[in-house]
C-alpha cells in the first residue's frame, strides 16, 4: 500500500484546494521557512486520525481551518488521503481507498465528518482501517519537526512501553 496523493482543502496555510501526488519510494518536500511543509505533515496526522491538536500546533480543531488575509475565511477544512490498495492490505474491495476527514465551524460549535470511499463513517473506523495496514499513532511512522530526539529524552519506562505496544 502507498499514498498516491494527499488533497489539502482549506487546511492550515493551504487556502486553495491543493493536490499533492507522491511517487513510490523516496519523496522529498522542500521550500522556504514558513512555506507550509510541516503543515503537510500535520495534514497526514489529521487525516490518519490524530486526536491531539497540540501535535499539529493548534489549540482547537477550528485553528486548522485556513484563515486568510483578505477576509477569505472558509468555514471548513478537509484533507483527503488517496491510498493505492492493489495488494489488498486494506480490508476493502477497491484498488484505491480514499480517506477524508473534515472539520466544519458553525455558530453552534464545530462538527467533524469522516469518510471512507465516500461513505460516512466514525473516526475509529478510519483508525481501525489504517491499523490493519500497519499505520497507527504509536507506530512512529510520522515524526514531527524537532521530535527526532524525543526518543532519547523520554524516560526509560516510556521507551519500554513502545516495545510493549508493538509486542
Amino acid at each position: 500500500m502507498r499514498v498516491k496523493e494527499v488533497v489539502l482543502n482549506n487546511f492550515k496555510s493551504f487556502g486553495n484546494k491543493t493536490k499533492i501526488p507522491f511517487s513510490d519510494g523516496f519523496n522529498a518536500i522542500s521550500g522556504p521557512n514558513g512555506s507550509g511543509k510541516s503543515n503537510i505533515v500535520d495534514a497526514f496526522c489529521f487525516v490518519t486520525g490524530t486526536t491531539s491538536t497540540n501535535q499539529m500546533r493548534a489549540e482547537n480543531l477550528t485553528d486548522l481551518i485556513y484563515e486568510g488575509e483578505n477576509g477569505k475565511n472558509p468555514n471548513y477544512a478537509e484533507v483527503t488521503l488517496k491510498l493505492e490498495n492493489e495488494n489488498g492490505e486494506l480490508p476493502v474491495d477497491d484498488d484505491e481507498v480514499e480517506i477524508t476527514r473534515k472539520v466544519k465551524e458553525t455558530d453552534k460549535g464545530h462538527y467533524s465528518y469522516y469518510y471512507i470511499n465516500g461513505n460516512s463513517v466514525k473516526l475509529n473506523d478510519i483508525r481501525e482501517l489504517l491499523a490493519e495496514a500497519g499505520v497507527s499513532e504509536n507506530g512512529y511512522n510520522i515524526i514531527m519537526q524537532g521530535d527526532v530526539t524525543g526518543l532519547i529524552n523520554m524516560s526509560s519506562k516510556n521507551r519500554r512501553e513502545i516495545i510493549d505496544e508493538i509486542a
Partner: protein
C-alpha cells in the same frame, strides 16, 4: 506475555545494533532492559558507543549522536513492524554533512519496501530522493510546485 515481549525485544535489539553500525560506522549500540527478570518492572535504556568512544550517559551525547541513535531505534522498530509509508519532518536537522549522507542513503535503500515522504532543507537528502516537491507561499497561501514533472 513476558515471552512475547522478550521475542519482540530481541528482534528489535538485533535490528537496532545493525542499523546503528551502518549509521555510525565503527560505533556500537544496544538496547538494554533495566530489569532482565521482569521486564515490566524496569524501563528500556540505550547504551550507545559512538566510534572510538566509551559508552557514556545518553544525555551526554551530542545533538548529532542523539539523532542517529534515535533514528536507529525508529528504523529498527520499522523493520520489525513495517508501515506502508513514513512521513518525516526534518529528521536531518542536527546532522553534519557526512551523517546526512548516511541517513539519506539508508532511506533510499529502505524505500524499496516502503514509501517515504521526507521534509528537508538539506541538499544530500533532497538529492537522494527519487522526487522532490517544492512548497512555496504566496500572500499567505501555500502551494505545491514540481508536482507535474516526472510525467505525473
Amino acid at each position: 506475555k513476558r515471552e512475547i515481549f522478550l521475542n519482540t525485544f530481541d528482534e528489535i535489539n538485533s535490528n537496532f545494533k545493525e542499523v546503528f553500525s551502518k549509521l555510525s560506522p565503527e560505533g556500537d549500540a544496544e538496547l538494554v532492559l533495566e530489569s532482565q527478570d521482569d521486564p515490566f518492572e524496569g524501563g528500556l535504556t540505550i547504551k550507545a558507543k559512538p566510534a572510538g568512544k566509551n559508552v557514556r550517559r545518553l544525555e551526554a551525547m551530542s545533538g548529532g549522536e542523539k539523532s542517529l541513535t534515535a533514528l536507529s531505534f525508529i528504523f529498527a522498530i520499522q523493520r520489525y513492524n513495517p508501515a506502508p509509508f513514513y512521513a518525516f519532518d526534518e529528521i536531518d536537522m542536527f546532522l553534519d554533512g557526512a551523517n546526512v549522507e548516511r541517513v539519506a542513503k539508508m532511506i533510499e535503500k529502505l524505500s524499496d519496501k516502503a514509501q517515504f515522504i521526507v521534509v528537508s532543507l538539506r541538499k544530500p537528502t533532497l538529492e537522494s530522493s527519487n522526487r522532490t516537491i517544492g512548497i512555496t507561499m504566496d500572500k499567505g497561501v501555500s502551494k505545491a510546485t514540481g508536482v507535474n514533472l516526472d510525467g505525473n
